[in-house]
Amino acid sequence: MLIDIGFILGTMFMYATPLLYTALGGAISENSGVVNIGLEGMMTIGAFSAATTSYFLQNPWIGFIFGGFAGALLGLVHAVACVSYRADNVVSGIAINFLGPGIALFLARHFFGGTTHTKILDLDKKMPRPFDGVFEQNSFFDLILNQYATMFIALFLVFVVHFVFYYTRVGLRLRSVGEKPTAARTVGIRVVLYRYGAVIVSGFFAGLGGSSLSIAIVSHFWHPLISGQGFIALAAMIFGKWKPIPTMFACLMFGFSQGIAVFLGRVIPATYTELVSMIPYALTLIVLVLFVRRSRAPSALGGQVDE
C-alpha cells in the first residue's frame, strides 16, 4: 500500500514536470496580454534541440538550456507577429504549432541521417537524478524522490516566477501591461518591450518543458513525443487563474490523477480501462466547475496597443 502511494506520487511529479515549465511560460506571456497557444510548437522545438545538443555535446545541462533558447526563438517569432505586426494571437500561435514540429523534423533528418528521431542518450548522460541510489530501489521514498533534476528546478521556478510577479517592479509593470496597456503607456512603461520580453521568456520556459521530456523522462526525441502536453499546460494555467502557485497545483493535480489512473489500471479489471484513463480529464473538469468559479483572464489579453 505504501509502495502504491509512493508510486502514485512519483508519477505525479514525473507527469507534472513538463507541464509546470510550459504552464509557467504560458502565464508569463498571458499576463503581459499576449495569448500563447503556440506552447506546443515551442515545446517540440525545445525537446528536439535539447536531445540533439545533449547527444552531440554529451552534456544534458547545455542541452537543457539550449532547448530553452530554441523555444525562445519561436517565442520571438510569435512576439514579432503578435506585438509588432499586431497579428491575431491565436492565428500566430497555430502557425507556431505547425512551425515547431516542421523545423524539428527537418533538422532531425539533417542531423541524424534522414531519420526523424534523435539518437538515444546514455543513462549517465541524461539529466542527473540527485536522489538516485540514496534510498533502496523502488522503496517508498525512492519512488517519490528519485526524480530528475528538471523536476526540482521546475518547482523552484514556480516560486521564482511568483516572486517576480508579485514582489518586484518588473512584475507589477508586466501585469499592468496585461491589464491596462493604455494606462501603463501613459505612465511611461514601454508596453512593446515588456510584451516582447514576456513572450520570449514564455518560449524559453516552454522549450525547457519540452527538454524535460526529451532528456529526462525519456532520452531521445521522436515525432509524436510532444502530443498535446502544450495544450494541457495551457489548460492548467487557466485552471490556475493565470497565477504561478495555483497553476503549479493544477499541474500537480493533473499528474496525480494520471498516477491514480495508472494505479487503478492495475487493480481494476481490464474491461474498465477506458473509464480509468478518463480520470485525469474528468477530474480536471469537475474541479474546474466546482472550485474555479471565478477565473479571470488579464483584461487586455489578446488585444492590441498603439505605439
Binding site: 514525473m14 505586426y85 516542421g102 523534423l105 523522462i217 531521445h220 494520471q258 489500471g265 492495475r266
Partner: protein
C-alpha cells in the same frame, strides 16, 4: 504592415509543405512499383525504411522499376498518390494504416490502377483494385512470449498495450500463449495505456510492473513503448520491443523484438506479380511466419541463450506446419489453453 505578416505566414506554411522528395530509378518496360511513405519518411529505421528496402531487393533480384515519395504530413498522402498514379506505376503502395482513407479515395477514382496498403484491410466492400496486407502479429508475439517465459526469473511478466482492439489483441493473446507454453507458473500483468503516443504513461505503467516484480515487459503500444523501454533502462530489467528490432534504443535491456517484416511482405507481392503477372486484389493478404513476414529480431542472440533460440526455431516450424494454432483473441486463447 499587415500585408507583410500575411506574406510571412504564407511562406511558413508553404515551407512546411516543401519536404516531399522524390526518387526514380530502374529500366524501361519493367513492372513499375512505387510507394508513398507516411510521415516517418523513408529513413525512419522502422517500417517505412523496411518497405523501401523490400522494394530495393525487388529491384535487384526481380528487375522491377521502383520509386517512392515521402509524406511530410497527413495532407500529403493524396497529392503523393496522385503523382505516382500519373507517373504510370503498375502498383502503388501506401505504407501504413494512416493512409487508408486517402488510398481508398484514390482507388475509387482510378478503378484501373492497382493499389496495396500495409497494415490495413478494407473489408468486403472494398474495390477490387486495392489489397490490404496484414501481418500475423500473434505469431511473432508467441515467439517472444515463449522467450519471456523461459528467461523470466521472477515468474512475473508484463504486457503494455496501446489501445485495446483487434490489432493489439493479436499481440496480447499471442504473447500470453507463448508464455503459457514456455512456463505454466508465470503470470502476465497486462495493462493498456489507452494511447499510442503518451510515452510518460508507458514509462509509468512499466515502472509499476517492475515494482510489482516483473522482470520482463513486452509492449505493443507504438510511441508509448519508448517510455516502457526507458523504464526498463532505469530499472535495469528486460524489455521486449515490437514491429522492428528495437535493440538500438536500449542495447543492454532489449531482450528481443517481435518483428514485422514489411519489406519482405512487399518483396513477396512484387515476386508474385512478376511470376504470375497477376495483381493481388480484393480484400486482405495475411502474411505470417511461413511467408517470412514476421519473426524475432536478429539481435536476439545477444541476450537470449542459444538453447532457447533453438527451441524457438522448433516452435516456428510447428507454427508453420500448423501444429500450433496461435490464438489472436480471448476466444481462441481459451480454446488454445484447453487444447494444450
Amino acid at each position: 504592415m499587415k500585408k507583410n505578416l500575411f506574406v510571412f505566414l504564407i511562406l511558413f506554411f508553404v515551407s512546411t509543405f516543401a519536404f516531399a522528395a522524390g526518387d526514380q530509378e530502374g529500366a524501361e518496360d519493367a513492372i513499375k512499383i512505387a510507394m508513398v511513405t507516411d510521415v516517418g519518411g523513408v529513413n525512419d529505421q522502422s517500417f517505412n525504411q523496411s518497405a523501401w528496402e523490400g522494394l530495393q531487393r525487388a529491384r535487384d533480384e526481380l528487375g522491377v522499376e521502383i520509386s517512392y515519395l515521402e509524406s511530410a504530413q497527413d495532407a500529403d498522402y493524396i497529392p503523393n498518390l496522385q503523382s505516382l498514379i500519373d507517373g504510370g506505376n503498375d502498383l502503388v503502395w501506401g505504407v501504413g494504416f494512416k493512409m487508408a482513407d486517402a488510398l481508398l479515395q484514390m482507388a475509387k477514382l482510378y478503378p484501373d490502377q492497382h493499389f496495396a496498403i500495409i497494415d490495413f484491410a478494407y473489408g468486403p466492400d472494398a474495390p477490387s483494385n486495392v489489397v490490404g496486407v496484414l501481418f500475423k502479429a500473434e505469431q511473432a508475439s508467441f515467439l517472444v512470449g515463449y522467450i519471456a517465459g523461459k528467461v523470466t526469473e521472477t515468474n512475473t511478466i508484463g504486457f503494455v498495450g496501446g489501445i485495446e482492439g483487434a490489432i493489439i489483441d493479436a499481440f496480447e493473446y499471442g504473447f500470453l500463449a507463448g508464455v503459457y507454453i514456455a512456463n505454466r507458473d508465470a503470470t502476465v500483468l497486462s495493462q493498456y495505456a489507452d494511447s499510442f503516443v503518451d510515452a510518460a504513461k508507458g514509462k509509468s505503467i512499466a515502472t509499476q510492473m517492475y515494482v510489482q516484480g516483473a522482470d520482463i515487459v513486452f509492449h505493443a503500444a507504438g510511441s508509448v513503448g519508448n517510455g516502457v523501454i526507458e523504464a526498463a533502462r532505469e530499472q535495469d530489467r528486460w524489455v521486449i520491443g515490437v514491429d522492428r528490432d528495437q535493440n538500438d534504443l536500449a542495447p543492454d535491456n532489449v531482450l528481443t523484438s517481435a518483428m514485422k517484416e514489411v519489406g519482405d511482405a512487399m518483396y513477396k507481392v512484387a515476386k508474385d506479380l512478376k511470376e504470375t503477372g497477376e495483381f493481388p486484389s480484393g480484400g486482405a493478404l495475411i502474411l505470417g511466419l511461413s511467408d517470412g513476414a514476421v519473426g524475432i529480431a536478429p539481435t536476439s542472440n545477444v541476450h537470449v541463450p542459444a538453447d532457447i533460440l533453438s527451441e524457438i526455431e522448433e516452435m516456428s516450424q510447428r507454427i508453420v506446419s500448423g501444429e500450433i494454432a496461435v490464438p489472436y483473441n480471448l476466444e481462441t486463447f481459451e480454446t488454445f489453453k484447453s487444447e494444450n
